[in-house]
Protein backbone atom coordinates (compact mmCIF):
# COMPACT_ATOMS: atom_id res chain seq x y z
CA UNK A 1 0.00 0.00 0.00
CA UNK A 2 1.07 3.59 -0.47
CA UNK A 3 0.12 7.20 -0.93
CA UNK A 4 1.50 8.25 -4.32
CA UNK A 5 2.39 11.92 -4.71
CA UNK A 6 2.97 13.30 -8.19
CA UNK A 7 5.53 16.10 -7.94
CA UNK A 8 5.99 18.21 -11.03
CA UNK A 9 9.35 19.79 -11.79
CA UNK A 10 10.11 23.05 -13.53
CA UNK A 11 13.27 22.74 -15.64
CA UNK A 12 14.53 20.09 -13.25
CA UNK A 13 13.70 22.02 -10.07
CA UNK A 14 11.01 21.69 -7.43
CA UNK A 15 9.14 24.55 -5.77
CA UNK A 16 7.59 25.23 -2.42
CA UNK A 17 4.35 23.73 -3.68
CA UNK A 18 6.12 20.43 -4.38
CA UNK A 19 7.24 20.26 -0.76
CA UNK A 20 3.76 21.20 0.48
CA UNK A 21 2.40 18.35 -1.56
CA UNK A 22 4.90 15.84 -0.16
CA UNK A 23 4.27 17.09 3.40
CA UNK A 24 0.55 16.56 2.86
CA UNK A 25 1.03 13.14 1.30
CA UNK A 26 3.33 12.03 4.12
CA UNK A 27 0.80 13.07 6.80
CA UNK A 28 -1.94 11.31 4.89
CA UNK A 29 0.20 8.18 4.65
CA UNK A 30 0.58 8.31 8.43
CA UNK A 31 -3.22 8.47 8.84
CA UNK A 32 -3.54 5.46 6.57
CA UNK A 33 -0.68 3.58 8.19
CA UNK A 34 1.25 3.37 5.00
CA UNK A 35 4.16 4.97 3.14
CA UNK A 36 4.48 8.09 1.06
CA UNK A 37 5.95 7.54 -2.39
CA UNK A 38 6.86 10.59 -4.48
CA UNK A 39 6.78 10.31 -8.27
CA UNK A 40 8.73 12.68 -10.48
CA UNK A 41 8.58 12.51 -14.26
CA UNK A 42 11.45 13.85 -16.37
CA UNK A 43 15.10 14.62 -15.73
CA UNK A 44 15.82 15.79 -12.20
CA UNK A 45 19.21 15.43 -10.52
CA UNK A 46 19.53 13.35 -7.38
CA UNK A 47 20.37 16.20 -5.03
CA UNK A 48 17.09 17.82 -6.02
CA UNK A 49 15.14 14.56 -5.67
CA UNK A 50 16.59 14.03 -2.20
CA UNK A 51 14.86 17.20 -1.03
CA UNK A 52 11.53 15.37 -1.34
CA UNK A 53 12.76 12.93 1.30
CA UNK A 54 13.13 15.79 3.78
CA UNK A 55 9.37 16.27 3.75
CA UNK A 56 8.53 12.66 4.42
CA UNK A 57 8.70 10.73 1.15
CA UNK A 58 10.01 7.22 1.92
CA UNK A 59 10.58 6.33 -1.70
CA UNK A 60 11.19 8.65 -4.60
CA UNK A 61 10.54 7.32 -8.07
CA UNK A 62 12.25 9.26 -10.80
CA UNK A 63 10.69 8.22 -14.08
CA UNK A 64 12.79 9.30 -17.02
CA UNK A 65 12.48 9.16 -20.75
CA UNK A 66 14.31 11.54 -23.00
CA UNK A 67 11.43 11.97 -25.37
CA UNK A 68 9.12 13.40 -22.69
CA UNK A 69 9.53 16.99 -23.68
CA UNK A 70 5.97 18.21 -23.98
CA UNK A 71 3.18 18.07 -21.49
CA UNK A 72 0.52 15.71 -22.81
CA UNK A 73 -2.30 14.91 -20.38
CA UNK A 74 -2.93 11.43 -21.79
CA UNK A 75 0.70 10.37 -21.55
CA UNK A 76 1.15 11.72 -18.04
CA UNK A 77 -2.10 10.08 -16.96
CA UNK A 78 -0.96 6.67 -18.22
CA UNK A 79 2.43 6.95 -16.55
CA UNK A 80 0.96 7.97 -13.20
CA UNK A 81 -1.77 5.32 -13.43
CA UNK A 82 0.91 2.69 -14.09
CA UNK A 83 2.88 3.65 -10.99
CA UNK A 84 -0.31 3.92 -8.92
CA UNK A 85 -0.97 0.25 -9.72
CA UNK A 86 2.63 -0.82 -9.22
CA UNK A 87 2.82 0.91 -5.83
CA UNK A 88 -0.66 -0.25 -4.83
CA UNK A 89 -1.61 3.36 -4.15
CA UNK A 90 -4.69 3.95 -2.03
CA UNK A 91 -4.54 7.69 -2.63
CA UNK A 92 -2.89 9.63 -5.45
CA UNK A 93 -2.13 13.27 -4.58
CA UNK A 94 -1.52 16.01 -7.16
CA UNK A 95 -1.41 19.79 -6.98
CA UNK A 96 -4.53 21.80 -7.82
CA UNK A 97 -2.52 23.78 -10.39
CA UNK A 98 -2.66 23.78 -14.21
CA UNK A 99 -0.92 20.42 -14.49
CA UNK A 100 -2.80 18.70 -11.68
CA UNK A 101 -6.15 19.90 -12.98
CA UNK A 102 -5.26 18.53 -16.43
CA UNK A 103 -4.31 15.07 -15.17
CA UNK A 104 -6.42 14.31 -12.07
CA UNK A 105 -9.81 13.95 -13.80
CA UNK A 106 -8.36 11.66 -16.47
CA UNK A 107 -6.68 9.60 -13.79
CA UNK A 108 -9.98 9.38 -11.92
CA UNK A 109 -11.63 7.71 -14.91
CA UNK A 110 -8.66 5.52 -15.78
CA UNK A 111 -8.38 4.14 -12.24
CA UNK A 112 -12.10 4.45 -11.52
CA UNK A 113 -11.09 6.41 -8.44
CA UNK A 114 -13.24 9.18 -6.96
CA UNK A 115 -11.78 12.68 -7.18
CA UNK A 116 -11.65 15.27 -4.43
CA UNK A 117 -10.40 18.42 -6.13
CA UNK A 118 -8.91 21.45 -4.45
CA UNK A 119 -8.89 19.99 -0.95
CA UNK A 120 -7.42 22.28 1.67
CA UNK A 121 -7.03 20.00 4.71
CA UNK A 122 -6.25 16.42 5.56
CA UNK A 123 -9.33 14.19 5.35
CA UNK A 124 -11.65 14.62 8.32
CA UNK A 125 -12.04 10.84 8.50
CA UNK A 126 -10.65 7.95 6.57
CA UNK A 127 -13.53 5.51 6.85
CA UNK A 128 -15.59 6.72 5.13
CA UNK A 129 -12.95 8.86 3.44
CA UNK A 130 -14.21 12.41 3.87
CA UNK A 131 -12.47 15.48 2.48
CA UNK A 132 -13.10 19.18 2.93
CA UNK A 133 -13.16 21.37 -0.15
CA UNK A 134 -14.07 24.84 -1.27
CA UNK A 135 -17.37 25.28 -3.11
CA UNK A 136 -19.16 28.35 -4.51
CA UNK A 137 -15.77 29.92 -5.13
CA UNK A 138 -14.92 30.15 -1.45
CA UNK A 139 -18.35 31.27 -0.24
CA UNK A 140 -18.82 27.84 1.34
CA UNK A 141 -17.09 24.51 1.90
CA UNK A 142 -18.32 20.97 1.50
CA UNK A 143 -17.60 17.68 3.20
CA UNK A 144 -17.35 15.13 0.46
CA UNK A 145 -16.95 11.37 0.78
CA UNK A 146 -15.00 9.44 -1.81
CA UNK A 147 -16.53 6.02 -2.13
CA UNK A 148 -13.94 4.10 -4.16
CA UNK A 149 -10.99 1.96 -3.07
CA UNK A 150 -8.51 4.32 -4.70
CA UNK A 151 -8.88 8.07 -4.23
CA UNK A 152 -7.48 11.00 -6.18
CA UNK A 153 -6.90 14.32 -4.41
CA UNK A 154 -5.70 17.65 -5.72
CA UNK A 155 -4.36 19.93 -3.01
CA UNK A 156 -5.17 23.65 -3.12
CA UNK A 157 -1.98 25.68 -3.33
CA UNK A 158 -0.63 27.26 -0.17
CA UNK A 159 -3.14 25.45 2.02
CA UNK A 160 -0.82 23.10 3.86
CA UNK A 161 2.20 23.96 6.00
CA UNK A 162 5.55 22.43 5.14
CA UNK A 163 6.45 19.66 7.57
CA UNK A 164 10.07 18.63 7.63
CA UNK A 165 10.36 14.96 8.59
CA UNK A 166 13.69 13.80 7.24
CA UNK A 167 14.01 10.08 6.80
CA UNK A 168 16.20 7.72 4.89
CA UNK A 169 14.49 7.90 1.58
CA UNK A 170 15.52 5.84 -1.38
CA UNK A 171 15.59 7.02 -4.95
CA UNK A 172 14.51 4.63 -7.69
CA UNK A 173 15.38 5.76 -11.16
CA UNK A 174 13.20 4.02 -13.67
CA UNK A 175 13.37 4.55 -17.38
CA UNK A 176 9.95 4.34 -18.85
CA UNK A 177 9.28 3.44 -22.40
CA UNK A 178 6.31 4.16 -24.49
CA UNK A 179 5.60 4.67 -28.10
CA UNK A 180 6.40 8.29 -29.04
CA UNK A 181 3.52 8.23 -31.53
CA UNK A 182 1.12 8.09 -28.58
CA UNK A 183 2.03 11.69 -27.79
CA UNK A 184 -0.71 13.63 -29.52
CA UNK A 185 0.20 17.13 -28.34
CA UNK A 186 2.67 19.11 -30.45
CA UNK A 187 3.97 22.39 -29.09
CA UNK A 188 4.65 24.81 -31.91
CA UNK A 189 5.60 27.89 -29.90
CA UNK A 190 6.51 28.79 -26.32
CA UNK A 191 6.32 32.32 -24.95
CA UNK A 192 7.84 32.58 -21.50
CA UNK A 193 7.86 35.67 -19.37
CA UNK A 194 11.18 35.68 -17.65
CA UNK A 195 12.60 37.34 -14.58
CA UNK A 196 9.21 37.92 -13.00
CA UNK A 197 7.87 36.37 -9.85
CA UNK A 198 4.95 34.19 -10.88
CA UNK A 199 1.62 35.28 -9.51
CA UNK A 200 0.75 31.71 -8.56
CA UNK A 201 4.05 31.24 -6.69
CA UNK A 202 4.25 34.57 -4.88
CA UNK A 203 4.05 34.85 -1.10
CA UNK A 204 3.07 38.50 -1.40
CA UNK A 205 0.91 40.03 -4.13
CA UNK A 206 0.29 43.73 -4.74
CA UNK A 207 -2.88 44.24 -6.75
CA UNK A 208 -4.58 47.32 -8.17
CA UNK A 209 -8.13 47.97 -9.32
CA UNK A 210 -10.10 50.58 -11.20
CA UNK A 211 -9.53 52.98 -8.31
CA UNK A 212 -5.98 53.40 -9.67
CA UNK A 213 -7.62 55.42 -12.47
CA UNK A 214 -5.13 54.73 -15.28
CA UNK A 215 -2.17 52.62 -16.33
CA UNK A 216 0.18 55.56 -15.71
CA UNK A 217 -0.47 55.36 -11.99
CA UNK A 218 0.98 51.86 -11.63
CA UNK A 219 4.50 53.01 -10.75
CA UNK A 220 4.11 52.85 -6.95
CA UNK A 221 2.38 49.45 -7.17
CA UNK A 222 5.30 48.01 -9.11
CA UNK A 223 7.77 49.70 -6.78
CA UNK A 224 6.04 48.36 -3.68
CA UNK A 225 5.99 44.86 -5.23
CA UNK A 226 9.70 45.07 -6.06
CA UNK A 227 10.56 46.17 -2.54
CA UNK A 228 8.58 43.32 -1.01
CA UNK A 229 9.67 40.66 -3.51
CA UNK A 230 6.02 40.43 -4.50
CA UNK A 231 4.14 39.73 -7.72
CA UNK A 232 1.76 42.29 -9.20
CA UNK A 233 -1.90 41.58 -9.97
CA UNK A 234 -5.07 43.44 -10.90
CA UNK A 235 -8.86 43.22 -11.03
CA UNK A 236 -10.68 42.23 -14.18
CA UNK A 237 -11.70 45.70 -15.43
CA UNK A 238 -8.04 46.71 -15.24
CA UNK A 239 -6.93 43.92 -17.56
CA UNK A 240 -10.00 44.42 -19.77
CA UNK A 241 -9.00 48.07 -20.18
CA UNK A 242 -5.51 46.93 -21.09
CA UNK A 243 -3.93 48.86 -18.19
CA UNK A 244 -2.22 45.64 -17.13
CA UNK A 245 -1.54 42.30 -18.88
CA UNK A 246 -4.18 39.57 -18.76
CA UNK A 247 -1.91 37.23 -16.82
CA UNK A 248 -2.34 39.53 -13.82
CA UNK A 249 -6.12 39.31 -13.59
CA UNK A 250 -7.22 37.58 -10.39
CA UNK A 251 -10.69 36.40 -9.51
CA UNK A 252 -13.27 33.87 -10.45
CA UNK A 253 -12.56 34.25 -14.16
CA UNK A 254 -8.85 34.94 -13.73
CA UNK A 255 -6.19 33.41 -11.55
CA UNK A 256 -7.13 31.91 -8.22
CA UNK A 257 -4.34 32.57 -5.77
CA UNK A 258 -3.65 32.08 -2.06
CA UNK A 259 -0.62 34.16 -1.06
CA UNK A 260 0.28 34.95 2.52
CA UNK A 261 -0.38 38.62 1.92
CA UNK A 262 -2.58 40.32 -0.69
CA UNK A 263 -2.71 44.10 -1.11
CA UNK A 264 -6.00 45.20 -2.71
CA UNK A 265 -5.54 48.80 -3.78
CA UNK A 266 -8.47 50.65 -5.33
CA UNK A 267 -10.38 47.37 -5.59
CA UNK A 268 -14.00 47.35 -4.40
CA UNK A 269 -14.05 43.65 -3.48
CA UNK A 270 -16.81 42.25 -5.70
CA UNK A 271 -17.66 38.60 -4.96
CA UNK A 272 -16.13 37.56 -8.29
CA UNK A 273 -12.87 39.24 -7.35
CA UNK A 274 -12.86 37.78 -3.83
CA UNK A 275 -13.44 34.32 -5.32
CA UNK A 276 -9.87 34.44 -6.57
CA UNK A 277 -8.15 35.90 -3.52
CA UNK A 278 -10.20 35.08 -0.42
CA UNK A 279 -7.91 32.19 0.50
CA UNK A 280 -5.05 34.66 1.07
CA UNK A 281 -3.84 34.49 4.70
CA UNK A 282 -3.92 38.29 5.09
CA UNK A 283 -5.55 40.97 2.98
CA UNK A 284 -4.67 44.64 3.20
CA UNK A 285 -7.16 47.01 1.57
CA UNK A 286 -6.58 50.62 0.55
CA UNK A 287 -9.73 52.34 -0.62
CA UNK A 288 -11.36 55.80 -0.46
CA UNK A 289 -14.75 54.28 0.33
CA UNK A 290 -15.06 53.13 3.94
CA UNK A 291 -18.07 50.98 2.94
CA UNK A 292 -16.27 49.10 0.16
CA UNK A 293 -16.91 45.33 0.58
CA UNK A 294 -13.16 44.65 0.41
CA UNK A 295 -12.88 45.88 4.01
CA UNK A 296 -15.05 42.97 5.17
CA UNK A 297 -12.55 40.55 3.68
CA UNK A 298 -9.46 42.43 4.88
CA UNK A 299 -7.58 42.23 8.19
CA UNK A 300 -5.93 45.61 7.73
CA UNK A 301 -7.39 48.62 6.01
CA UNK A 302 -6.49 52.17 5.12
CA UNK A 303 -9.27 54.53 4.14
CA UNK A 304 -7.66 56.96 1.78
CA UNK A 305 -6.67 57.97 -1.71
CA UNK A 306 -4.21 55.45 -3.16
CA UNK A 307 -2.31 58.17 -5.00
CA UNK A 308 -1.47 59.76 -1.63
CA UNK A 309 -1.17 56.63 0.55
CA UNK A 310 1.01 54.56 -1.76
CA UNK A 311 4.04 56.87 -1.88
CA UNK A 312 4.01 57.03 1.92
CA UNK A 313 3.71 53.28 2.15
CA UNK A 314 6.63 52.83 -0.25
CA UNK A 315 8.72 55.20 1.90
CA UNK A 316 7.77 53.28 5.05
CA UNK A 317 8.84 49.97 3.49
CA UNK A 318 12.14 51.53 2.41
CA UNK A 319 12.80 52.69 5.94
CA UNK A 320 12.07 49.25 7.35
CA UNK A 321 14.23 47.55 4.72
CA UNK A 322 16.98 50.10 5.33
CA UNK A 323 16.97 51.34 1.73
Amino acid sequence: MSVLIFVENWDGKFKKLSFELVSYGAKLAEMLNTEAVALSIGNVINSELEKLGNFGAKKIISAVNNSINVFDSEVYTSIIAGFAKQEDAKVVVLSHNNTGKAIAPRLSVQLKAGLGSGVSKLPQRIDPFMVYKKVFSGNAFSNLTINTGIKILTLAQNSFELVETPNNSIINEISIDWNPSSVKTTVTEVQKQSGKILLTDADIVVSGGRGMKSSENWGPIVELADLLGAATACSRPVSDEGWRPHEEHTGQTGKIIAPNLYFAIGISGATQHLAGVSSSKFIVAINTDKDAPIFSAAQYGIIGDASKVLPKLVEAVKVVKGI
Binding site: E74, A140, V187, K192, T253, L261, L313
Partner: protein
Protein backbone atom coordinates in the same frame (compact mmCIF):
# COMPACT_ATOMS: atom_id res chain seq x y z
CA UNK B 1 -16.83 20.52 -38.51
CA UNK B 2 -19.11 20.31 -35.47
CA UNK B 3 -18.55 21.96 -32.10
CA UNK B 4 -20.11 20.89 -28.81
CA UNK B 5 -20.17 23.24 -25.82
CA UNK B 6 -20.87 21.56 -22.47
CA UNK B 7 -22.71 23.92 -20.20
CA UNK B 8 -23.32 23.78 -16.54
CA UNK B 9 -26.18 25.63 -14.88
CA UNK B 10 -25.07 27.57 -11.80
CA UNK B 11 -26.38 30.19 -9.37
CA UNK B 12 -25.62 33.77 -10.38
CA UNK B 13 -22.08 34.52 -9.21
CA UNK B 14 -23.27 37.21 -6.77
CA UNK B 15 -25.64 34.82 -4.95
CA UNK B 16 -25.32 34.76 -1.18
CA UNK B 17 -25.45 31.01 -0.79
CA UNK B 18 -27.48 29.46 2.03
CA UNK B 19 -28.13 25.86 2.92
CA UNK B 20 -31.17 23.99 4.22
CA UNK B 21 -31.96 20.49 5.53
CA UNK B 22 -29.25 20.44 8.16
CA UNK B 23 -26.86 22.12 5.72
CA UNK B 24 -27.23 19.18 3.35
CA UNK B 25 -28.83 21.08 0.48
CA UNK B 26 -28.48 24.42 -1.26
CA UNK B 27 -31.38 26.76 -0.56
CA UNK B 28 -32.53 27.47 -4.11
CA UNK B 29 -35.16 30.03 -3.11
CA UNK B 30 -34.69 33.23 -5.05
CA UNK B 31 -31.61 32.02 -6.92
CA UNK B 32 -31.06 33.30 -10.45
CA UNK B 33 -29.59 30.54 -12.60
CA UNK B 34 -27.03 31.34 -15.25
CA UNK B 35 -24.75 29.62 -17.75
CA UNK B 36 -21.45 28.93 -15.95
CA UNK B 37 -19.26 31.96 -16.86
CA UNK B 38 -16.59 29.83 -18.59
CA UNK B 39 -19.17 28.02 -20.65
CA UNK B 40 -20.71 31.30 -21.73
CA UNK B 41 -17.28 32.39 -22.99
CA UNK B 42 -16.72 29.00 -24.70
CA UNK B 43 -20.04 29.36 -26.44
CA UNK B 44 -19.12 32.88 -27.53
CA UNK B 45 -15.84 31.63 -29.01
CA UNK B 46 -17.56 28.69 -30.74
CA UNK B 47 -19.99 31.12 -32.38
CA UNK B 48 -17.16 33.43 -33.44
CA UNK B 49 -15.48 30.45 -35.10
CA UNK B 50 -18.71 29.58 -36.87
CA UNK B 51 -19.29 33.18 -38.01
CA UNK B 52 -16.05 33.08 -40.00
CA UNK B 53 -17.27 30.80 -42.78
CA UNK B 54 -13.73 30.01 -43.91
CA UNK B 55 -13.41 27.86 -40.78
CA UNK B 56 -16.02 25.43 -42.02
CA UNK B 57 -17.90 25.11 -38.73
CA UNK B 58 -21.31 23.67 -39.58
CA UNK B 59 -22.96 23.73 -36.19
CA UNK B 60 -22.58 24.65 -32.54
CA UNK B 61 -24.50 22.39 -30.17
CA UNK B 62 -24.83 22.81 -26.41
CA UNK B 63 -25.20 19.87 -24.03
CA UNK B 64 -26.30 19.86 -20.43
CA UNK B 65 -26.84 17.14 -17.87
CA UNK B 66 -29.67 18.31 -15.65
CA UNK B 67 -33.35 18.27 -14.87
CA UNK B 68 -36.07 20.25 -16.63
CA UNK B 69 -35.52 23.23 -14.35
CA UNK B 70 -32.34 23.98 -16.30
CA UNK B 71 -34.18 24.56 -19.56
CA UNK B 72 -34.30 28.37 -19.26
CA UNK B 73 -30.48 28.31 -19.10
CA UNK B 74 -30.32 26.04 -22.15
CA UNK B 75 -32.78 28.30 -24.02
CA UNK B 76 -30.52 31.21 -23.17
CA UNK B 77 -27.63 29.42 -24.87
CA UNK B 78 -29.85 28.92 -27.91
CA UNK B 79 -30.83 32.60 -27.81
CA UNK B 80 -27.17 33.60 -27.76
CA UNK B 81 -26.75 31.60 -30.96
CA UNK B 82 -26.26 27.85 -30.47
CA UNK B 83 -27.97 25.86 -33.25
CA UNK B 84 -29.41 23.10 -31.12
CA UNK B 85 -29.28 21.64 -27.64
CA UNK B 86 -29.23 18.32 -25.84
CA UNK B 87 -30.38 17.84 -22.27
CA UNK B 88 -29.64 14.59 -20.51
CA UNK B 89 -32.44 14.27 -18.05
CA UNK B 90 -30.71 13.49 -14.73
CA UNK B 91 -29.75 15.22 -11.54
CA UNK B 92 -25.99 15.77 -11.91
CA UNK B 93 -24.81 13.83 -8.85
CA UNK B 94 -21.05 14.08 -9.41
CA UNK B 95 -18.53 14.89 -12.14
CA UNK B 96 -17.94 11.20 -12.97
CA UNK B 97 -21.65 10.70 -13.51
CA UNK B 98 -21.97 13.85 -15.64
CA UNK B 99 -18.93 13.07 -17.79
CA UNK B 100 -20.18 9.53 -18.38
CA UNK B 101 -23.55 10.82 -19.63
CA UNK B 102 -21.92 13.30 -22.00
CA UNK B 103 -19.52 10.61 -23.26
CA UNK B 104 -22.38 8.25 -24.16
CA UNK B 105 -24.10 10.94 -26.20
CA UNK B 106 -20.89 11.96 -27.97
CA UNK B 107 -20.11 8.33 -28.84
CA UNK B 108 -23.35 8.08 -30.77
CA UNK B 109 -23.03 11.50 -32.45
CA UNK B 110 -19.40 12.64 -32.69
CA UNK B 111 -18.14 16.22 -32.56
CA UNK B 112 -14.75 17.52 -33.68
CA UNK B 113 -14.23 20.08 -30.95
CA UNK B 114 -15.70 19.74 -27.48
CA UNK B 115 -15.42 22.73 -25.17
CA UNK B 116 -15.67 22.50 -21.39
CA UNK B 117 -14.94 25.10 -18.75
CA UNK B 118 -12.11 24.80 -16.24
CA UNK B 119 -14.62 24.71 -13.40
CA UNK B 120 -18.26 25.16 -12.51
CA UNK B 121 -18.69 28.14 -10.23
CA UNK B 122 -20.89 26.12 -7.84
CA UNK B 123 -18.98 22.97 -6.90
CA UNK B 124 -15.61 24.05 -8.27
CA UNK B 125 -14.92 20.52 -9.45
CA UNK B 126 -12.49 21.16 -12.33
CA UNK B 127 -13.27 17.66 -13.39
CA UNK B 128 -15.87 17.07 -16.10
CA UNK B 129 -13.74 18.08 -19.11
CA UNK B 130 -10.81 15.78 -18.34
CA UNK B 131 -13.06 12.91 -17.33
CA UNK B 132 -15.06 13.24 -20.53
CA UNK B 133 -11.88 13.10 -22.64
CA UNK B 134 -10.71 9.99 -20.80
CA UNK B 135 -14.06 8.22 -21.23
CA UNK B 136 -13.86 8.97 -24.96
CA UNK B 137 -10.14 8.27 -25.32
CA UNK B 138 -9.70 11.72 -26.89
CA UNK B 139 -6.77 14.05 -26.25
CA UNK B 140 -7.51 16.96 -23.93
CA UNK B 141 -5.80 20.28 -23.60
CA UNK B 142 -6.26 22.14 -20.35
CA UNK B 143 -5.78 25.80 -19.31
CA UNK B 144 -6.86 26.82 -22.79
CA UNK B 145 -6.83 30.57 -23.39
CA UNK B 146 -7.42 30.56 -27.15
CA UNK B 147 -8.88 28.32 -29.85
CA UNK B 148 -8.49 28.91 -33.57
CA UNK B 149 -8.91 26.94 -36.76
CA UNK B 150 -6.20 27.14 -39.43
CA UNK B 151 -6.45 25.08 -42.61
CA UNK B 152 -9.04 22.84 -41.02
CA UNK B 153 -6.81 22.13 -38.03
CA UNK B 154 -7.30 23.28 -34.46
CA UNK B 155 -4.68 25.54 -32.93
CA UNK B 156 -4.82 26.00 -29.17
CA UNK B 157 -3.16 28.47 -26.83
CA UNK B 158 -2.62 27.18 -23.37
CA UNK B 159 -1.33 28.82 -20.21
CA UNK B 160 1.69 27.33 -18.54
CA UNK B 161 3.42 28.55 -15.40
CA UNK B 162 4.94 31.82 -16.41
CA UNK B 163 3.93 31.88 -20.03
CA UNK B 164 1.95 30.50 -22.93
CA UNK B 165 2.28 27.69 -25.41
CA UNK B 166 0.73 27.24 -28.79
CA UNK B 167 -0.13 23.60 -29.34
CA UNK B 168 -1.75 21.50 -32.01
CA UNK B 169 -3.60 18.24 -31.42
CA UNK B 170 -5.53 15.94 -33.72
CA UNK B 171 -9.32 16.22 -33.58
CA UNK B 172 -11.60 15.17 -32.00
CA UNK B 173 -10.34 16.99 -28.95
CA UNK B 174 -11.65 18.25 -25.62
CA UNK B 175 -10.47 21.78 -24.90
CA UNK B 176 -10.80 22.84 -21.27
CA UNK B 177 -11.01 26.59 -21.30
CA UNK B 178 -10.12 29.39 -18.98
CA UNK B 179 -9.42 33.08 -19.26
CA UNK B 180 -8.82 34.65 -22.63
CA UNK B 181 -10.89 32.34 -24.81
CA UNK B 182 -13.27 35.22 -25.60
CA UNK B 183 -13.32 38.73 -24.26
CA UNK B 184 -16.94 39.51 -23.45
CA UNK B 185 -19.73 36.95 -23.44
CA UNK B 186 -22.08 37.37 -26.37
CA UNK B 187 -25.51 38.64 -25.37
CA UNK B 188 -28.80 37.36 -26.74
CA UNK B 189 -30.51 39.80 -29.08
CA UNK B 190 -34.29 40.06 -29.37
CA UNK B 191 -34.24 38.10 -32.62
CA UNK B 192 -32.18 35.37 -30.97
CA UNK B 193 -34.63 35.12 -28.10
CA UNK B 194 -37.52 34.70 -30.52
CA UNK B 195 -35.66 32.09 -32.57
CA UNK B 196 -34.55 30.15 -29.49
CA UNK B 197 -38.13 29.07 -28.84
CA UNK B 198 -38.23 26.98 -31.97
CA UNK B 199 -34.68 25.65 -32.03
CA UNK B 200 -34.36 21.91 -31.35
CA UNK B 201 -33.81 20.89 -27.72
CA UNK B 202 -33.58 17.13 -27.49
CA UNK B 203 -34.09 15.37 -24.17
CA UNK B 204 -32.23 12.10 -23.67
CA UNK B 205 -32.81 9.73 -20.77
CA UNK B 206 -29.74 9.06 -18.60
CA UNK B 207 -27.41 6.09 -18.87
CA UNK B 208 -26.80 3.78 -15.93
CA UNK B 209 -23.62 4.59 -13.97
CA UNK B 210 -22.72 5.11 -10.32
CA UNK B 211 -21.32 8.26 -8.74
CA UNK B 212 -17.94 7.98 -7.06
CA UNK B 213 -18.36 10.77 -4.54
CA UNK B 214 -21.13 12.06 -2.27
CA UNK B 215 -21.58 15.51 -0.79
CA UNK B 216 -22.36 14.97 2.89
CA UNK B 217 -22.99 18.56 3.95
CA UNK B 218 -21.87 22.16 3.61
CA UNK B 219 -20.16 24.59 5.93
CA UNK B 220 -19.92 28.35 5.86
CA UNK B 221 -16.43 29.86 5.95
CA UNK B 222 -15.27 30.99 9.37
CA UNK B 223 -15.86 34.74 9.44
CA UNK B 224 -12.72 36.83 9.36
CA UNK B 225 -11.92 39.05 12.31
CA UNK B 226 -12.99 42.67 11.87
CA UNK B 227 -10.68 44.84 9.80
CA UNK B 228 -8.15 46.92 11.71
CA UNK B 229 -7.99 50.43 10.34
CA UNK B 230 -4.76 52.35 10.07
CA UNK B 231 -4.45 56.09 9.72
CA UNK B 232 -3.89 57.09 6.09
CA UNK B 233 -1.26 59.58 7.20
CA UNK B 234 0.77 56.90 8.92
CA UNK B 235 1.23 53.78 6.74
CA UNK B 236 4.35 53.02 8.78
CA UNK B 237 1.99 51.56 11.35
CA UNK B 238 0.72 49.09 8.76
CA UNK B 239 4.22 47.84 8.09
CA UNK B 240 4.77 47.42 11.83
CA UNK B 241 1.58 45.38 12.17
CA UNK B 242 2.53 43.22 9.21
CA UNK B 243 5.92 42.61 10.79
CA UNK B 244 5.04 42.18 14.43
CA UNK B 245 1.44 41.02 14.50
CA UNK B 246 0.91 39.13 11.24
CA UNK B 247 4.61 38.27 11.00
CA UNK B 248 4.61 38.12 7.25
CA UNK B 249 7.09 40.68 6.05
Amino acid sequence: MKILVCISNVPDTTTKVKFVDDKKKLDTAGIQWIINPWDELSLTRALELKDDTTNGVQSVTVAHVGLIGAEPTIRKALAIGADDAIRINADPSDAYFVAFQLAQVIKSEPYDIILCGIESSDFNGSAVGGMLAEFLGYPSVSSVSGVGIVDGKIIINREIDGGKEIVSVPMPVVAIVQKGIAKEPRIAAMRGIMMARTKPLRVIEPFEVESLTTVINFEMPTPRAACKFIDAENPRQLIELLQNEAKII
